[in-house]
């Protein structure tokens, strides 16, 4: 590695179905940022227990409310009796457990309900691992998302606002709910103005190549601004690939029905791709096979990322 994180920061690197879980050791206590997907909750609990090494998990903080970041909250809270802090913008959604607003029903994802205890507002400063962090509003992929920035160590916890190569699905923009793409531009420009040595993303390894990641993200953003259909195609592929990570396989002859029955996917097709159900299914399978994330075998679509 070409960088070292402070010793009290432990990144539990997961995959794509579960977000990374970032543990901050604080003497006898600890704080966790983001808790993975619900179907991985028991492994998340086991991993956290392993990394805690006898300490008490006092607090979970979430960057945003997508299923792959909050899915372990309920199990961790049951196990460790920790508090849960969510971005202020989604407090009402969590309180009401609004599965529509949480993009659960719409995107074919699941999550165990939980109650939050506190919220973070953009601009809030707080301690993690004995360091001072500031919450910054990072709308785009999720309109209420926060990223957390440590100025003294130049570390950015970026959630799904910035990855080594890209950023999360533009749900708000694609569903016509908010000017998500414009928000992504504002967010990336704000992040780009920070002095950052290390990024701990929501998925993938922590990295030091901040400038390179920013460049890639801005290029991707520009491509989406110029070609919304491309953005829509990418989102549809990414969202279904996520479904397939959980399901691991699906009958090929059930795909068209799955796509019609999953509101976000059907909506994207209606607004952007405008393909007949069978054509949409055929397009999607060929794209996923071409990308190497799925294969067709004996009438099944099989995720190559889970086998």
């Amino acid at each position: 590695m070409n960088f070292t994180l402070p010793s009290q920061v432990r990144v539990l690197e997961r995959g794509w179905l579960s977000s990374n879980n970032i543990l901050f050791l604080e003497g006898e206590r600890a704080t966790l940022i983001d808790s993975g997907y619900v179907s991985h909750a028991s492994q998340t609990v086991a991993l956290v227990r392993q990394a805690l090494d006898g300490r008490r998990l006092e607090r979970i903080i979430n960057t945003h409310s997508h299923s792959d970041h909050i899915g372990g909250n309920a199990a961790l809270q049951r196990e460790f009796a920790c508090s849960i802090t969510v971005p202020a913008g989604i407090a009402e959604t969590i309180q009401a457990w609004d599965e529509e607003a949480l993009l659960l029903t719409a995107s074919g994802q699941r999550c165990d309900p939980f109650r939050h205890d506190a919220t973070h507002l953009p601009g809030d400063e707080f301690e993690l691992g004995g360091l001072v962090w500031r919450a910054l509003h990072a709308p785009g992929h999720d309109m209420d998302a926060l990223v957390f920035y440590c100025e003294s160590r130049r570390i950015l916890i970026s959630g799904d606002a910035l990855w080594r190569d890209g950023f999360g699905i533009q749900f708000a923009e694609l569903m016509g709910k908010a000017a998500g793409l414009a928000a992504t531009r504002t967010t990336l420009e704000a992040i780009g103005r920070l002095a950052v040595d290390i990024v701990i993303p929501g998925h993938g390894a922590a990295f030091a190549e901040f400038d390179d990641a920013m460049q890639r993200a801005m290029q991707r953003l520009a491509a989406f601004e110029a070609d919304p259909l491309r953005m829509a195609r990418n989102a549809l592929k990414a969202c279904f690939t996520f479904n397939l990570l959980e399901l691991r396989r699906m009958r090929r002859d059930q795909l068209a029905e799955h796509l019609c029955g999953t509101a976000f996917l059907a909506d994207i097709n209606t607004r952007y791709l405008k393909l007949a159900p069978d054509d949409l299914a055929e397009w999607l399978v060929s794209e996923l096979v071409r990308a190497g994330v799925a294969e067709l075998r004996d009438g099944d679509i099989i995720s190559t990322q889970t086998a």
Binding site: M1, R10, E13, G15, L17, Q43, A46, A213, R216, T306
Partner: protein, 72 residues
């Protein structure tokens, strides 16, 4: 174009279920300690873990080779 993989890639394949009998993840065949430590260890140590995973995979008679850049 994908960024260069300077580091050994994580073997996580999104199964994430610990097998009580073996103490290994059913997907990546790492122990809890190995998974938890992964992000903080160097490439040499990651390669050692992946080599151990290969041995375990052989025991479980799987055909899949883990991807990565541990080999010359």
């Amino acid at each position: 174009m994908k960024p260069e993989q300077a580091s050994v890639a994580s073997p996580c394949i999104n199964v994430c279920q610990m097998d009580a009998a073996t103490g290994l993840c059913q997907g990546c065949l790492r122990t809890l300690a190995e998974i938890a430590a992964w992000s903080g260890i160097d490439d040499a140590e990651k390669c050692r873990i992946l080599a151990a995973v290969e041995q375990r995979r052989a025991v479980h008679a799987s055909v899949a080779d883990p991807p990565g850049n541990c080999r010359a």
